[in-house]
Amino acid sequence: MSATQQALAVGRATAAHRPRRSTWFGGLHGADYAWAIAFALPYIAIFFAFVLYPICYGVYLGSDPALYRDLFADPRYLTAVVNTLLYVGIGVNVKMFLAFLLSGFFMRKSWWTKSLLVVFILPWATPALPAYISIHWFLNGQWGMLNNVLYLLFGIDGPVYLNDRWLGLAGNIGAYIWKTLPFWTIILLAGRMAVPTELYEAAEVDGATGLRRFAHITVPMMASLYLVCTLLDMVFALGDFNATFFVSGGGPAMSTEVLATLGIRYAFTVALPRLGVAAVMSALPLLIPLVIMLMRRLRMSEGQL
């Protein structure tokens, strides 16, 4: 067994021998148990009021089957479903891959990398609405900065990005990636920093360098965290309203609408809130498995990165 394998084995053994909690009351008895209940009650009440009740109310609002008949009869609905899948599938995976690569870059210890990291975080720290509205104007075909730069540098007039479904959708996805990439980069950077340096040192002793260390240490150690982050971001992206609403506005001709914006449009533009809830609820078949996978993953990866 190489030094690296030995080091990895120690980590696994530690995780494997973690004792399981077996008692339902956490070992509390009598007065201690009553006190514990008394202190937990406010939190339970808040959970019921602000988590369980809204969910149940949403289910109640969207429970009429006639709503779904109306929904499926709307030609925009199918487009919104396809766009949502593309938005989540491409937006999340491209972003997480970039975040993974960038987290490696930001592991460098030079001062300028750290300075760059501060600048890199800015999009995430910027409030979402002005940021997305700026991108909407940035992409404006006539007066936007992008086409003006193209004209100044190359003398060409760029396309009218938001008049085209695929460019508009790409704009929304790009904006979402730009806005949230720094956050996930920082999370993965923290994950990389938690990988024990002994593993890399042991690998170096074994003669592994560069790509091999990345493939045999970084990737396996980060895999669990990467997957959890991806699942979590998929849940966020499914409900994301801001990027689509403020960048393309769902246009042209509703062709870049996603379920979150379609739901809001039903609820507040047409004043049919139940139909709006039904539109969002129709994402549950995708959302629930994601949450279950996430929970299972979190339980399985206890004690690991």
Binding site: A31, A34, W35, A38, L41, Y57, L61, D70, A73, D74, P75, R76, N140, G141, Q142, W143, V160, L162, N163, G168, S248, G249, G250, G251, P252, A253, M254, R265, Y266, A267, F268, T269, V270, A271, L272, P273, R274
Partner: protein, 458 residues
């Protein structure tokens, strides 16, 4: 010293919860003369100040209390729909543009009938204000007043007069017919570009497929100008099977997409939102716009040169057949959601607000962005027709003195749904992007419109 035991803590918690629950009705009773009012924020601060003054004056005069909140329009819209859905409602909602909320909720019997509030003023109200305030209730199977009308707004042309002159044209020579206005002004683009304004467009035509409102509003005015005003009648019926309406719709799409294809409309207009045309106009990225109320002008009120000299406000005059143009007006005011705790005070406040002198002072305070729902006021008060604000007179003439139509949303909630789907913007996109003929694009839009109306009527 008080000894805290487990039992005393638990017992105390139960007492506290019980006291809180039981005390609630008495708190409500103590505030029996207080009404909760939600008001939408005005476009200019003067509108908010004018509303506050009415509220304060009412409180002094009546001894009642108004617990009012002023919030941005979109927030108020969402808050109100959420409240109507959950049943936890305010006593009064005061809104500039309630046409997306009231039709559906009056239809669903979720709003209080306010006929008794409106009755004393009914004979003085403009016809369009009356039509915009009465809605069909599916439960009672009749139309009734669900809005206490106070203000009205119309859609004028906003033109950069200095650019018109720079292009060698004259405002006084703009033709009176609807299409003529557009055709005349589009000529300005070439000379202005020749003078170095490389990216200037002549027409800020809201041909958008995004909405939510402006594109539908512009199309409807084209439809009226081409003789298709009966697409929806006051009984809420759709008349897409009327050949006159169909012909008018086809002509409208033909003309609008024609302007776009000629290159006198910014290409981006297909995906504009409601703010994009305002922003573009203010930046002089195009020369003219057709957009609701005087907010376009009032936004630049601090720029004396622009407000008093460069901008020109123009009311549409004639349809394309030479008969007088009817522009659509929307009506704003107060409505009371069912379930309100203090209907009595809410109604009393609206009775106070609808008094002609109160209404007039309030709208003057808002610098005339909205005009009174009682037309005689603009004739009796020189503020409206002899103001030093150049934008006001043509706007008042259009919204009050010239023939008007109510917005179709007041006739049926189905029209609001058709607009929300951006059917007319989609028809333009079908012609411009998909190469469809205007007749086919309109037939496609009408087919979907028929489906929406059929669903609402059943």
């Amino acid at each position: 010293m008080i000894h805290l035991s487990r039992r005393s803590v638990l017992r105390g918690s139960v007492y506290l919860a019980a006291t809180g629950t039981l005390a609630k009705p008495f708190i409500a009773k103590a505030a029996a003369k207080t009404a909760v009012v939600w008001m939408n924020q005005g476009f200019i601060p003067q509108e908010d100040a004018a509303f506050k003054k009415v509220a304060e004056d009412y409180m002094k005069a009546s001894g009642n209390t108004l617990d009012y909140s002023i919030m941005p329009f979109m927030a108020q819209n969402q808050k109100t729909i959420s409240a109507l859905t959950s049943g936890d409602v305010p006593d009064l909602v005061f809104m500039d543009a309630p046409s997306s909320i009231i039709p559906q909720n009056a239809w669903d019997d979720k709003i209080v009938d306010v006929s008794d509030v409106v009755a004393p003023y009914e004979s003085q109200l403009a016809d369009s204000a009356k039509l915009c305030s009465t809605f069909y209730n599916k439960a009672t199977k009749q139309r009734s007043y669900y809005l206490c009308p106070v203000k009205q707004g119309a859609t004028p042309f906003h033109i950069w007069g200095d650019l018109v002159e720079k292009a060698g044209l004259k405002i006084s020579e703009i033709p009176k017919d609807w299409n003529g206005v557009w055709s005349y002004l589009k000529q300005a683009q070439a000379p202005l570009r020749a003078k170095g304004m490389r990216k200037l467009y002549a027409c800020g035509l809201q041909i958008t497929t995004v909405g939510p409102n402006d594109g539908n509003n512009v199309f409807t005015h084209f439809l009226i100008a081409n003789g298709g005003e009966n697409i929806v009648t006051s009984d809420g019926k759709l008349h897409t099977d009327d050949p006159v309406v169909r012909e008018a719709a086809i002509k409208s799409v033909e003309f609008m997409t024609g302007l776009y294809k000629e290159g006198v409309v910014p290409p981006e207009a297909l995906s504009w939102n409601d703010a994009d045309d305002n922003n573009g106009y203010h930046e002089k990225l195009f020369m003219m716009d057709f957009d609701g109320t005087l907010s376009t002008e009032l936004a630049l009120i601090k720029d004396k040169q622009a407000f008093y000299h460069d901008m020109v406000t123009l009311a549409p005059i004639n349809k394309n057949d030479g008969s007088p143009m009817k522009t659509q007006v929307g009506t704003g005011g107060g409505f009371i959601p069912k379930g309100a705790q203090n209907i009595e005070v809410a109604k009393d406040f609206m009775k106070y607000f609808m008094q002609p002198e109160v209404m007039n002072e309030n709208l003057k305070g808002g610098l005339g962005r909205w005009v009174p729902a009682i037309p005689s006021l603009v004739k009796s008060d020189p503020f409206w027709l002899q103001s030093d604000m150049p934008c006001l007179k043509p706007y008042v003439e259009e919204a009050v003195l010239n023939p008007t139509l109510p917005v179709y949303e007041g006739f049926t909630p189905a029209w609001g749904q058709a607009n929300a789907e951006q059917l007319w913007g989609q028809a333009h996109a079908d012609v411009i992007k998909n190469g469809m003929k205007p007749a086919d694009a309109i037939d496609k839009a009408f087919k979907r419109c028929n489906e929406i109306f059929a669903r609402v009527e059943t």
